[in-house]
Amino acid sequence: AMVLTRAYDDRMYRAQRQGKTSFYMKCTGEEAVAVAQTMAIDAGDMCFPSYRQQGILIARGYPLVEMMCQVYSNVRDPLKGRQLPIMYSSREYGFFSISGNLGTQFSQAVGWAMASAYKGDDRIAATWIGEGTTAEGDFHQALTFAAVFRAPVILNVVNNQWAISSFQGIAGGEQSTFASRAIGYGLPGLRVDGNDFLAVYAATQWAAERARNNLGASLIELYTYRAEGHSTSDDPGRYRPADEAGAWPLGDPVARLKAHLIALGEWSEEQHEAAQKEAAEQVRAANKEAEGFGTLGSGSTASTKTMFEDVYKGMPWHLRRQRQDLGV
């Protein structure tokens, strides 16, 4: 899944560069976070991600074609062209609608978990936030409510050391770790090497166990590195050394897992290459299909009148009138 996620990112990034859509965000170097954590929780558990956990959908087998159609805002886009590329949503796959507003999902996940507990449901919630975003009030409200109401939720801080142009110190990462924020709320705070697939898996499994047994929430800081730019609108050359990514000692999660498995004799270069080829092929095929449904600007979108739908469950008179004004 990590390999597939990377192949997907590369393809979509190229698509944006080719002008097939307006925007894209990669998670290169952070694949282990979303993928290992998704594997460590149950398929029924609810995820409240930030925009850098596309690996969740891929690990859960959400169709690549649908993801691509969302990125292309085309006629098959499940979100009807309404959202910026990569702001996926799928209730069916336990993936909450991504918001452009940072941090809001963190405290919402606590509410979902409270509801699950109220219903005696054994599903838990998991949510992800960037280290930069921990400075928002939502982070504090999430920890406060999670502690007070003993909500079955896993609160993940993805510390990829950068928030667009500002390094983790601007968010307070130099005075203390983000994991230690949990202490003051009486919550356990774990800090793991986010590029070590197995470590991430183990820590998440522990927290999931704890939540499922109604022992309450945990905070996990996943220490990783944003290997690429913040998004296709960003130019990291302006604020960090070009070779920093390469110099990052904890390396590439894919390469590390591969090396580890090969050392164990569970995997081989050949198998890996084959896996990469297969992923690339799968992505290529999916992209071919997705592009068949149109790319941004190709004019192949949901019908314009859908623009006025879903503001409310029904359509009040003023929206009907506006739709008529537009003549659709």
């Binding site: 979100l79 919402q108 509410g111 409200q141 003023h318």
Partner: protein
């Protein structure tokens, strides 16, 4: 009115296990205005409970619960304290259905007392309804009678979209017509003061014509509805008094029908004037009734200042100011 609101929540907690009621001081204490009095005792700690003092967290939790499938009813202790939750309301609750193409939605009701007349000073007297009417995806409801309060609140709770339910705190415990210097005529004299037990609804989006009239149309809601009625009696003009009840979606037909009949319109609200909801009403009326209008549409509103503690009655747009506006409109 407070008992009517309490009864609405009691009724819904009884009917629907997915309804939860929570907020600051809402549980054990029953709310600083007693709106949730006895609900925790009757329905249990898991159905009606106290939260930390964090409006943002309260609304965020309600959104998450809504995404799960519950129907949260939250109280913000005063409308003046809803701003810490503004991002969750505007960026999240209001947009979730749209941005997820219907995949997720927020069947949440936010109850909050608004308005002055209680010497609450600038942070216990605000009327922020206009802000919410500008946010697409929200419904904004303001009752003016006990009967409507219960029926509208039940409709709001059952509604699958987020509803901002603003409660005129000045008339929580009895009617008030703006004549602060006179004895108050009791609810009993008010048509809609009888509150049936049990379940009933008043649909969202329907205004009520509380007084038919031929000469002028008075548009009001909440506490000011009673001020508008008092002003009508005071000046003897045959005004048609319309209680909007729901600000968004607005019952435009009832308004247009009335103004086309009367040709004159006065809008009354307690909120500050500039960009208040009266502006939208005036814009709509002149767009829809331009050729029937015989006088400029008048707005009687709170002044564009914070609500000053010592000048409660100079600030509050009472019957005298409404009468002046009516006379200007009739004179024109």
């Amino acid at each position: 009115m407070i008992q009517a609101l309490n009864s609405a929540m009691d009724t819904m907690l009884t009917r629907d296990p997915d309804v939860l009621v929570f907020g600051e001081d809402v549980g054990y204490f029953g709310g600083v205005f007693r709106a949730t009095d006895g609900l925790q005792k009757k329905h249990g700690m898991t159905r009606c409970f106290d939260t930390p003092i964090g409006e943002g967290g309260i609304v965020a939790a309600a959104i998450g619960m809504g995404a799960y499938g519950l129907r949260p009813v939250v109280e913000i202790q005063f409308a003046d304290y809803i701003y810490p939750a503004f991002d969750q309301i505007v960026s999240e609750a209001a947009r979730l259905r749209y941005r997820s193409a219907g995949d997720f939605f927020v069947p949440m009701t936010i109850r909050t007392p608004y308005g002055g007349g209680i010497f609450g000073g600038q942070t216990h007297s605000q009327s922020p309804e206009a802000l919410f009417t500008h946010v697409v995806g929200l419904k904004t409801v303001i009752p003016s009678t006990p009967y409507d309060a219960k029926g509208l609140l039940i409709s709001a709770i059952e509604d699958d979209d987020p509803v901002i339910f603003l409660e005129p705190k000045r008339i929580y415990n009895g009617p008030f017509d703006g004549h602060h210097d006179r004895p108050i005529s009791p609810w009993s004299q008010h048509p809609a003061s009888e509150v049936p037990d049990g379940y009933y609804t008043v649909p969202l989006g329907n205004a009520a014509v509380l007084r038919e009239g031929a000469d002028l149309t008075l548009l009001a809601y909440g506490t000011m509805l009673h001020v508008a009625l008092a002003a009508t009696n005071d000046c003897g003009v045959d005004a048609e008094v319309i209680d909007l009840r729901t600000l968004v979606p607005l019952d435009i037909e009832t308004i247009v029908k009335s103004v086309e009949k009367t040709g004159r319109c006065v809008i009354v609200h307690e909120a500050t004037r500039t960009s208040g909801y009266g502006a939208e009403l005036a814009a709509l009326v002149q767009e829809n009734c331009f050729y029937h209008l015989e006088a400029p549409i008048e707005r009687v509103t709170g002044w564009d200042t914070p609500y000053p503690h010592a000048f409660e009655w100079q600030y509050f747009p009472g019957p005298a100011r409404v009468v002046e506006a009516i006379q200007r409109a009739m004179g024109a």
